[in-house]
Each structure stands twice: as structure tokens, then as C-alpha cells.
């Protein structure tokens, strides 16, 4: 991946982990503890994943979204409204999420 994905900084903190692109409930089993959850949006079905993920990146939403509110409760860094995150972040890539800056950057293994 080149450059950084940027979005709305929704909960501060930095986390390093494997980007896991999750498209629907049927993909939930792919997320491993410590992964960075990358998805379009979240709703109540997604809440348990926040307890496993090291950080969350969503393509939609803002400071007031479900993902932002739940990430704060679970104390994990969150970047929301990061358009094209699912296109730009390769599944399985090591990424650093900065929830204060609102950035997601690739990290060489």
C-alpha cells in the first residue's frame, strides 16, 4: 500500500495490527484478536468484534456514529469516515492506526 488512509479521528490511541477487511456478518469468523477491523459501517451485530479488535477503521460515519461511540466504550483507537479504506488497505497488511490523527499507515513487516 502507498500513502496513508485518512478519516475522522474518533477515539485517540495508536494500535498496530493486521488489517482484516470484514464485509458482512458472514465474515466475522475471520477476525482474530489483535486485528485491525476494517469495514464499511457497523451496527449492533458488530459490537462483539470491538472486544477482539486492536482498532477499528470504517468507511462511513462520523464522531457520533455507532462505531465511534462503541470504540470509546471499548477503549480502542478508531478512525471513521475513511472513504475507500476497504479499497486502499489490503487484507492481511500490517497497519498502524492513529486514532488521534485519523490516519492508517502501512508498516513493513
Amino acid at each position: 500500500m502507498t500513502g496513508a488512509v485518512t478519516g475522522v479521528p474518533a477515539n485517540p490511541g495508536r494500535a498496530l495490527g493486521t488489517a482484516r477487511l470484514v464485509r458482512s456478518v458472514d465474515d466475522f469468523g475471520r477476525l482474530r484478536p489483535g486485528d485491525v477491523l476494517v469495514c464499511r459501517t457497523t451496527d449492533p451485530a458488530w459490537t462483539p468484534l470491538f472486544h477482539l479488535a486492536a482498532a477499528i477503521v470504517t468507511e462511513t460515519g462520523g464522531l457520533l456514529s455507532h462505531a465511534a461511540i462503541v470504540a470509546r466504550e471499548c477503549r480502542i483507537p478508531a478512525v471513521v469516515g475513511a472513504a475507500d479504506a476497504m479499497t486502499l488497505l489490503p487484507d492481511g497488511a500490517q497497519v498502524l492506526v492513529d486514532g488521534a490523527l485519523g490516519t492508517v499507515t502501512g508498516v513493513a513487516r
Binding site: V25, F28, P44, T47, P48, L52, L64, H66, I69
Partner: protein, 199 residues
């Protein structure tokens, strides 16, 4: 106009949608259904591929599959149409949206204000804002339950969470209790699912 009670075949998968992830007992408790009947209903739904049992972070529960989500929305759509309730629920959803903005703003303000010290006392004006939301939720729920009884209980749960919040702030946005945010978000999900619209 008579309020319509929904059948268990609709309610069981619908609870899984509303809760997102829940154990059998919690699914039964949401609408006061019989536990054994609920268990059977979940096993049937599993056989149809509508729900799946999963374990996350040491918890085991049910969630809807994508097929289950589509099935649930079809059931809800048929129910609204059969009882000529679609226009009324859509109008109520329109009235809900500005309240929803107010609610999510309040929850976010609380979270951002409490980040440095989660045990701090809840400011009186925040409790006042939540109390105003509770007050406005009551007639909105009343309009919903005139059509479908399954919409009942949100105001009571929200008011109970608010009553506890003054002493324990976890009841505002906490995930482990039936907090104001969880109740509010469940109602939002209920309206979205019932109308088959995207968030």
C-alpha cells in the same frame, strides 16, 4: 385501529437482529417468550441458515446471517404491509431522526467529557438532556405501539437506565448494561429494520 401482536416466528430472529449477538436466554427475555420455545425457534432458524452460533471474546451467542437479515426484513415488511402500518412507522422514523441526532450528540459529549476520569460525577445538564430525550421518546413509542405491540418498552428501559445513571455513569453509554445508548440504538435498529432502510 387495533395494535397487532407479532408472532414468535418473527420475534425470535428479530431479537437477534436488535441485540446483534445474544444468548438464548436473552433472546427469550426480550419479549417474554417461553425459553424452550425460543430455543426451538433458534434451532429451526439455524437449520434454515438464518442464525448462526458464534463465540466471541469468551461469550457464546446467536447472530443473524446475511440470509437471516434478508429473511427478517421480509417478515417485517410483510407485517407492516399486512397491518397498513408502513406510512405511520415511516412518519415516526422521520420524527425520530432529529431526536437521534440529539441523542448521539449527548452520548458523544458525555464520552468526550469523561475520558480523563471515567468515575467523575455526571453533570446535571447532561442528565437533563437525557431526561428531555426520555420525555420525547414516550409519545413516539406510544404512536408505534398503537400499530405494533412489539415496539413497547423502549421508554421504560431508557428511563430506568437514566435513573441509574446519576449514581453509576456506566448506564449512560456502557456496553455491559442496558444503558441509555444501548436502548436508544436498539430502537434505531428496530426502525431501520422495520422499514428496510440503510443507516
Amino acid at each position: 385501529m387495533t395494535a397487532h401482536p407479532s408472532p414468535a416466528e418473527l420475534l425470535v430472529p428479530h431479537v437477534v437482529r436488535l441485540k446483534g449477538f445474544a444468548g438464548t436466554e436473552a433472546v427469550a427475555a426480550r419479549f417474554g417468550l417461553d425459553a424452550a420455545q425460543t430455543h426451538e425457534g433458534l434451532l429451526d432458524a439455524e437449520a434454515y441458515g438464518w442464525v448462526t452460533r458464534a463465540s466471541f471474546a469468551g461469550l457464546t451467542g446467536w447472530s443473524l446471517t446475511e440470509a437471516g437479515r434478508r429473511h427478517n426484513e421480509a417478515q417485517l415488511r410483510d407485517e407492516l404491509d399486512a397491518h397498513d402500518a408502513r406510512d405511520a412507522v415511516a412518519a415516526i422514523h422521520d420524527d425520530f431522526l432529529p431526536l437521534n441526532s440529539q441523542a448521539t450528540r449527548t452520548f458523544t459529549d458525555w464520552q468526550l467529557g469523561s475520558m480523563d476520569g471515567p468515575q467523575q460525577a455526571v453533570p446535571g445538564d447532561l442528565l437533563g438532556r437525557l431526561a428531555e430525550l426520555a420525555q420525547r421518546l414516550r409519545p413516539l413509542e406510544g404512536r408505534l405501539t398503537e400499530r405494533l405491540t412489539r415496539f413497547g418498552g423502549y421508554h421504560r428501559r431508557f428511563a430506568e437506565a437514566l435513573a441509574r445513571a446519576a449514581d453509576d455513569p456506566a448506564w449512560i453509554t456502557g456496553m455491559k448494561v442496558d444503558s441509555c445508548h444501548r436502548v436508544w440504538f436498539e430502537l434505531h435498529e428496530d426502525l431501520i429494520a422495520s422499514l428496510g432502510i440503510a443507516r
